[in-house]
């Protein structure tokens, strides 16, 4: 019996998700603790979907407190003008890795209208979006991603001990009424290759402005969006 590779497993997972999720779906990958290979799972899944010829985006959300002046990159801090700005890294055919530019007020995504608009914008541009939601316990953006996603995938690293955060994650998912698609277990050692590729993208690949999304100051009035030039598929 031939043992299936990680790529095979990802393809199977992709097929399962595509059968469960609507077209142009937004999928959030989350976990209870750090080290559950959320980024690796998201990257692998996105690459698998992109390999199928679908325009795919992988969105990396920074945890709370990030975007401080110590972070590298430009900082546009305009408190009066909520702004979500992404930079894009070309990670391969049909695959874009979007990173939130420092200073972006992701807290605005907690507003349902903003979140809906943001989702529509993503669906307009990509056929499949995978959001690295991280650990939602200390990540408000991740929590918002769980709310806007069509499905949530829980990443769990094999071999780690059961912690209270697992129960907390269950409660959080129930609280946000997330549509949990399932759990993906993984071996961090086997996924090291994906982590290395991600690190290479962050450190070496040229990042270009990809998406600029501006929200409204007065949430009751509405929002406006500024869209960057169309992405090349």
């Amino acid at each position: 019996m031939t043992r299936r590779t990680i790529e095979d497993e990802l393809n199977v997972l992709r097929a399962k998700l595509q059968s469960q999720l609507p077209p142009r779906a937004i999928l959030a990958v989350t976990s209870a603790t750090a080290g559950d290979n959320v980024r690796e799972v998201a990257f692998g899944l996105g690459r698998s979907v992109a390999a199928g010829g679908r325009a795919t985006a992988i969105i990396r959300l920074p945890p709370d407190g990030a975007g401080s002046p110590r972070e590298r990159g430009l900082r546009f801090e305009v408190p009066s003008l909520p702004l979500i700005e992404f930079i894009s890294v070309d990670a391969g055919p049909h695959l874009q890795v979007l990173s939130v530019r420092s200073g972006t007020a992701l807290q605005e995504l907690s507003v349902p209208a903003m979140r809906q608009r943001f989702a529509e914008e993503l669906r307009a541009r990509f056929e499949f979006v995978v959001i690295d939601a991280g650990e939602p316990q200390n990540n408000s953006a991740g929590l918002a991603a769980l709310r806007l996603a069509d499905g949530v995938l829980i990443a769990a690293a094999l071999g780690r001990a059961v912690v209270p955060a697992d129960r907390d994650l269950v409660d959080i998912l129930a609280g946000v009424k997330a549509q949990v698609a399932g759990i993906v277990t993984s071996d961090s050692r086997k996924l090291r290759r994906y982590a290395d590729e991600l690190e290479a993208l962050r450190d070496d690949a040229p990042a270009v402005p990809a998406l600029r999304f501006e929200g409204v100051v007065d949430r009751s009035i509405g929002e406006r969006a500024s869209v960057s030039p169309p992405m090349t598929a």
Binding site: I6, E9, L10, V12, L13, K16, L17, N37, V41, G44, L153, I154, A156, A157, L158, G159, R160, A161, V162, D166, R167, L169, V170, V180, A181, G182, I183, V184, T185, S186, D187, K190, L191
Partner: protein
């Protein structure tokens, strides 16, 4: 429910721990099996030969000569008597604990080969095994056990003869001692009376006495003859003295010369006297010469007569004969005296021997009686021994084959030890694996993860 894949995955995941558990299990199981006392088993066999059934009692399977049947043999192996003897053979004190311990180490199995018409086994081979911590002890024990079983069987078969034989032997010993006492007394009497024949009594001494008496009478006669001869020869020196003097005179050359001269001159004088007258002038001269010669001859003769007659061989011969006759007579007297002493002693001995002979005869009679009784008892003993041998041989039990080697117990076989160590090591490793898996609350299986989240696992990336 763990699948084979999960098990393989768990084994691979905990391979280091399992290796340690395997090694520890192997060491532990090996140490454990080494702590188990060594056990060797040796086997010997005892054969009970078939016996003829007793025609007069066909209903009874048991023979009066064969009190124990083959089917009873296995029970003999663990009887207290056999166990006690076996303990002594092994240098152990036959205490109850030791006997029970020995009983547990003995196994006896009967292999019946033939059956009596009554259906009971008549012959069979008893396979006995003896277990011991060492090979030598197992061998010694197995052989001693077989030997003790046969001894016990024979003791039982011949026990009724044993007492009889012992009693007969005791009687024989007493008789033998009595005979020895009688012999000592007879020897003491015979030693004190050399002429006493234990069988003929003093008859020999009487015959000797008669012989001595006859010899004495003969010696007495010889003495009379020799005394008569001595008296005769005693007169011979006196009678031969004149002849001895004459012989001395005749044998003296001076006298012969004087006598010859005198005779010639006397013959000359006689011739002259015949031829001439007295006036012949030379006649007187010759007569004077003859007278002188005659005087000289007589003087010589007188001189010779004055000599001892012993100078004459005649006289010496007479004296010699007299001496011989006297010696013979004296010898006869001495011999007669010796005979007188011997006859006296023999006579006294005869008187003394008559009492000893009486005692010897009585003792001899008693000895004959004791010898006869000894023979009777000895004959009965021989019969009893023969009966005992017959009883022991009919349906006899013999050691068929002695143990030549001892087999180690199964758990001491290298292959078994190896298998045991391997199995135990694997079992310990498996138990360790199961315990670790049960106690481990980490995400090793999808079951645990699904249990925590209540959500199915849709993919496993590994």
């Amino acid at each position: 429910m763990m699948t084979l894949e999960h098990i393989v995955e768990a084994i691979w995941r905990r391979r280091l721990v399992l290796c340690v558990a395997l090694v520890a299990g192997a060491v532990l199981s090996f140490a454990t099996i080494r702590l188990v006392p060594s056990k060797y088993t040796a086997q010997s066999s005892v054969l009970m030969a078939a016996e003829q059934t007793v025609p007069s009692d066909p209903q009874a399977g048991r023979s009066p000569i064969k009190p124990i049947l083959s089917s009873d043999l296995p029970m003999l192996a663990t009887t207290p008597t056999v166990l006690s003897r076996l303990a002594k053979d092994l240098g152990l004190q036959p205490t109850p604990d030791v006997l029970q311990h020995l009983q547990r180490r003995i196994k006896a199995r009967l292999s019946v080969t033939t059956s009596l018409p009554s259906g009971e086994p008549a012959a069979g081979v008893l396979m006995t095994t003896f277990a011991a911590p060492s090979e030598a002890e197992a061998l010694h024990g197995a052989n001693a056990l077989a030997q003790e079983i046969t001894t016990f069987y024979r003791d039982n078969s011949t026990s009724r003869f044993t007492a009889l034989i012992a009693d007969l032997e005791t009687q024989l010993d007493r008789r033998r001692a009595r005979l020895r006492t009688i012999d000592v007394r007879i020897n003491r009497i015979v030693t004190a009376n050399p002429w006493l024949d234990p069988r003929a009594g003093s008859a020999a001494l009487a015959a000797h006495y008669q012989q001595l008496a006859a010899e004495r009478a003969e010696t007495l006669a010889t003495l009379a003859s020799d005394e008569a001869a001595a008296r005769t020869y005693g007169r011979r020196p006196a009678e031969s003295a004149a002849a001895a003097h004459r012989d001395i005179t005749e044998s003296d050359p001076t006298f012969h010369n004087l006598r010859d001269q005198y005779a010639r001159d006397y013959a000359q004088m006689v011739r002259l006297r015949g031829q001439y007258s007295s006036a012949y002038p030379g006649l007187s001269e010759i007569e004077g010469s003859v007278a002188n010669e005659r005087a000289a001859m007589l003087a010589q003769e007188r001189k010779l007569r004055g000599l001892s007659p012993a100078a004459s061989p005649i006289y010496v011969g007479a004296l010699d004969e007299k001496t011989k006759a006297d010696s013979s007579a004296a010898a006869d007297v001495a011999k007669l005296r010796g005979y007188d002493a011997l006859v006296g002693e023999t006579g006294a001995g005869i008187q003394q021997s008559q009492r000893a002979a009486t005692e010897v005869v009585a003792l001899q009679r008693e000895r004959d009686a004791a010898t006869s009784a000894f023979g009777v008892i000895s004959s009965r003993l021989a019969e009893a021994v023969a009966d005992k041998a017959e009883a022991g041989s009919v349906g006899s039990v013999n050691v068929l084959d002695q143990a030549a080697y001892a087999k180690p117990a199964v758990y001491m076989w290298p292959l078994v030890v190896t298998a045991f160590v391997i199995v135990m090591a694997l079992a310990i490793a498996a138990a360790t694996l199961v315990a670790l898996e049960k106690l481990d609350r980490r995400f090793h299986t999808t079951t645990i993860i699904e249990g925590v989240y209540g959500i199915p696992v849709v993919a496993t990336l590994k």
